[in-house]
Amino acid sequence: MKNKIFFTIFMTIWIVIIIINFIWPKQTFSQEENRMLSTIPRFSLESFINGDYLNGVNDYINDHFAFRNIYLKLNSWWEVSVMGKKENNGVYIGKDGYLFEKFEYNDKEKENANTNVEIISNFANKMKEQNIPTYFVLIPNSIYINNNKIPNNVEVPNQEEIINQIYNKTENTNNINVIESLKEENKIKQLYFKTDHHINSDGAYVVYKEYCKARRIPIKELNSFNRITISNNFLGTFDSKAQLINQEPDELFIYQNEINTNIKEAIYDKQTTNSIFNQEYLNSKDKYSYFLNGNNSRAIIKTNVKNDKKLLVIKDSYAHIMSQFLCQDYSEVHFLDPRYTNFDYIKYAKENGITDVLFLYNVSTFVQDANLEKIIK
């Protein structure tokens, strides 16, 4: 009897899962995880024998399993709620709904950082020869600034020390120190997203203020802007990995004024608009791409500011949210992303009449990035 009951219950569920998987349409992109899903690898005798082909097939099957998202949430529930883990898929589960991607600083990262330092020094030197000042800002990550929200007993490398070491080694640049002001302001306001690895607009403003101080630009007070909530349902990159059930979403807001709303022209890789914001992304999970149209190799923002100052920003994605402030004082801002470009930036600066250069990175990306070497040919 017992065996008949088991047979019925088990076979029903098993067959249902198999059939659903069979008829389930295959997608190419996972919104929930914000990444491309694997495709069937190409067959070659070599890749078959050394195991790569089958690993690829395995990944493909896992990636296209029906209701994958539900399984990811279930796995997260099992790991975090049942097993009591304080991390999942490389993301720490912090207090008050804060998530943090793990940050390590070992030999590999040190080496990377040193390489990048050399490249920046070299670049800045060449810029100096043309009387163009280079500014350098390294922004610490949430895991360091929101240190009181990380799970107990987790020790994080001291990003302040790392930033200072990097600044000390970089030559020919004007280094902008944002740590103190971020730490101070963080006591009053939330400067980082809980579910995403970026700073929010409040954090962006703090960084902008320090840039203005260093650049001797008059600082625009925050109350001269309009704070506008764009979305109350932002779940970012940390959430895509951690997959917690009942994760509190972030508020996505901007500081709007005449200048950053009335843009003359915004030239992106695949389209030209008149805004640094793109509403369409608000309908997908990747809402951060609202800023500066997501990932482009190049974004040129032409404002209505009447001066002939042109800024070149060599950056990672932290600059995107900064764009609402960086465009305030320049007639043109050129955002270049070394991950996607393949031309010489020195030539570019010359050809485009650049007057200021800014290297803008967050610590975590900076110590892992190996793309900077492409900017000098």
């Binding site: 008949k4 088991f6 047979f7 078959f48 097939v57 395995n58 399993f65």
Partner: protein, 355 residues
């Protein structure tokens, strides 16, 4: 392929079961063989020629021993041929590169290293081969006259990778007459699921902890962490192996075959001897029956021969294994000081059932 994967659970197994239960009885072994080859090709295709070689050698030598049953010398030759092939294979994978690099060092040549890691399942397959040929030699079992059946036995995919060592006598009848029923399906599937849970939910989990220590990504080893680490390792290795055995035993039952138990809650043991009677039972009984008891034989000269095998064996198995195996043997010896007097061929069949 591994049991704990989506491709096995939701593609390979259901399709295989469907075909298996539909085809008429005499083709079921064929389905098993085909399934085993697919299972094997999915990840360890290099091993298929070896598997086939062993199957052919065992089958041929087994039949030759049967043919020359009255001729002791010839019987022994065929025994040693098969044993030799098995040991040679083990030896080859362990030391091929060592020999090549030594040759390179001495002669200055630059022969490229083969770089072949030991294919999965080689060990268990050779254990099984050896048990078969020794059993045939001793007369414990009648040699298999059908290559079709023998091939099924030697390629049984539930256990070939890591499962319990299945002696020929355990499944000789079932190779011909499978015990398929709804009850066996349910019992087998339940057993399989228990094994799956042990492997995925427990072993993999604590294994991640041990992995941190093994890869050295921690700041300084503290007393607490060292204990958490080794306990995690102990749990991982137990739940992984016993989970795998459960899955193998469960699958066999679904197909209508009965494998021997392999783990009997070893961590409740009150002595090391008891531990070895509960841990990987098929392995320790293999040792008892095919190495230890022969050692206690009264035949002149045979103990020496066995001792020589032991040396070769130790060389083929690597340090960790050898130590473990010596421990098994030691504790068997320690618990039965009189067993050296016990004997030999007739007693074995009985002893094999009473662990």
């Amino acid at each position: 392929m591994v049991f704990s994967s989506v491709v096995f659970l939701y593609i390979f197994l259901p399709i295989m079961l469907l075909i298996y239960f539909i085809v008429p009885r005499k083709f079921k072994n064929l389905i098993m063989i085909i399934a085993s080859f697919i299972f094997f090709a999915w990840g360890e295709i290099r091993y298929i020629p070896i598997m086939l070689l062993l199957a052919v050698m065992d089958f041929w030598c087994g039949n030759k021993i049967n043919e020359y049953w009255k001729d002791k010398k010839k019987k022994r030759i065929y025994l040693w041929i098969d044993v030799g092939v098995n040991l040679l294979i083990l030896f080859f994978f362990k030391y091929a590169d060592f020999i090549i690099s030594s040759i390179n060092g001495v002669t200055g040549l630059n022969i490229p290293l083969l770089n072949i890691p030991l294919p999965i399942g080689v060990s268990f397959n050779t254990f099984q081969s050896l048990s078969y040929i020794i059993d045939v030699y001793r007369g414990t079992v009648v040699c298999e006259k059908s290559f079709y059946n023998y091939l099924t036995y030697t390629t049984l995919f539930p256990q070939i990778i890591a499962g319990p060592i299945v002696r020929y006598e355990t499944v000789d009848e079932e190779l011909v007459d499978k015990k398929i029923s709804l009850d066996n399906f349910s019992l087998g599937m339940r057993r399989f699921i228990v094994g799956l849970g042990k492997k995925v939910l427990i072993a993999n989990n604590v294994g991640a902890m041990w992995n941190v220590i093994e890869t050295g990504n921690y700041s300084e080893m503290t007393v607490l962490l060292s204990w958490i680490g080794i306990i995690s390792f102990a749990l991982q290795i137990y739940f992984d192996f016993s989970g795998y055995s459960d899955m193998a035993i469960g699958l066999a039952k679904i197909f209508g075959m009965e494998f021997d138990e392999n783990f009997n809650y070893p961590y409740i043991s009150k002595s090391i001897t008891e531990f070895w009677r509960r841990w990987h039972i098929t392995l320790s009984s293999w040792f008892r029956d095919y190495i230890y008891i022969p050692l206690g034989g009264n035949r002149k000269g045979l103990p020496k021969q066995i001792r020589n095998i032991l040396i070769v064996w130790a060389l083929t198995r690597g340090m960790a294994w050898s130590i473990m195996e010596l421990c098994i043997m030691g504790s068997i010896f320690w618990s039965n000081p009189n067993s050296r007097k016990n004997i030999y061929v007739k007693g074995i069949r009985k002893n094999a059932k009473n662990i």
